[in-house]
């Protein structure tokens, strides 16, 4: 093939490899940050079943279809299911975790604003899946209920 220069090819290969490393590094770092559960996070057991959500706080308080949390506090959800696969989703806080029978998956979040947000099932789980919803109520840190 003669003595032509092939540096553009090498440059191209280098740039592609470098970009892939960078993209992988950024994604890995974002995942690392998100999955790092704060040590002081309060555990809430979340159970999905056809077709409602139930919650159990660390102090034993149980709630069905509604979940009360305090603003600015971290919560770790331990998500499971009783019958079929569900998916626990708080859309406004980008919380999404599969609820699988016989398995406990964890995800955490810290609500930033006082108010009401929707909780919904994101895995088709049967006839009333569309209405398998709950309410997340974020309260002031000092309010008691």
């Amino acid at each position: 093939m003669g003595h032509h220069s092939n540096w553009p090819e090498w440059l191209y290969v280098g740039v592609v490899i470098a970009l892939m490393c960078w993209v992988g590094g950024e994604a890995w770092n974002a995942e690392r940050l998100i999955e790092h559960i704060p040590a002081d996070a309060e555990i809430i057991k979340v159970t999905g079943q056809q077709w409602f959500w139930s919650f159990e706080h660390e102090d034993g308080t149980k709630e069905i279809g509604v979940l009360h949390v305090k603003v600015g506090k971290a919560y770790k959800f331990e998500v499971t299911a009783k019958d079929v696969d569900h998916s626990f989703n708080i859309h406004d806080y980008v919380v999404l975790m599969d609820a699988v029978p016989g398995r406990i998956n964890t995800v955490w979040f810290a609500p930033m604003e006082v108010g009401e947000n929707a909780i919904q099932c994101k895995e088709y789980c049967g006839l009333i899946h569309y209405n398998m919803r709950a309410k997340l109520i974020v309260e002031e840190a000092d309010s008691t209920s």
Binding site: G14, V15, A18, G25, A30, L33, F109
Partner: protein, 89 residues
Amino acid sequence: MPLNSLLCLFFVLVILIIIPAADYVFAAGDEPAGYLDRRVVIWNLFYKMMTVAFTVGSVVSGTIIWICWRFRESHPKATPTPYEKQGVW
């Protein structure tokens, strides 16, 4: 590969890999005291990835467009390839 292209490749790697990697290493443990907001982290990643995707897309399509424009037969500087000159393949 000539020295210049090696240097060029080295600079690209430094900018794209080594500096961000060093940044992570030195920043480890310096996360903000408050809880992170998942939305911020995820959207930040999304915007970075979109920037990369659109940049790569424009460079690649721009290169293809330039090659088509520059190496068309009617380009003033077009010269026949050795194969075309000899008329044999």
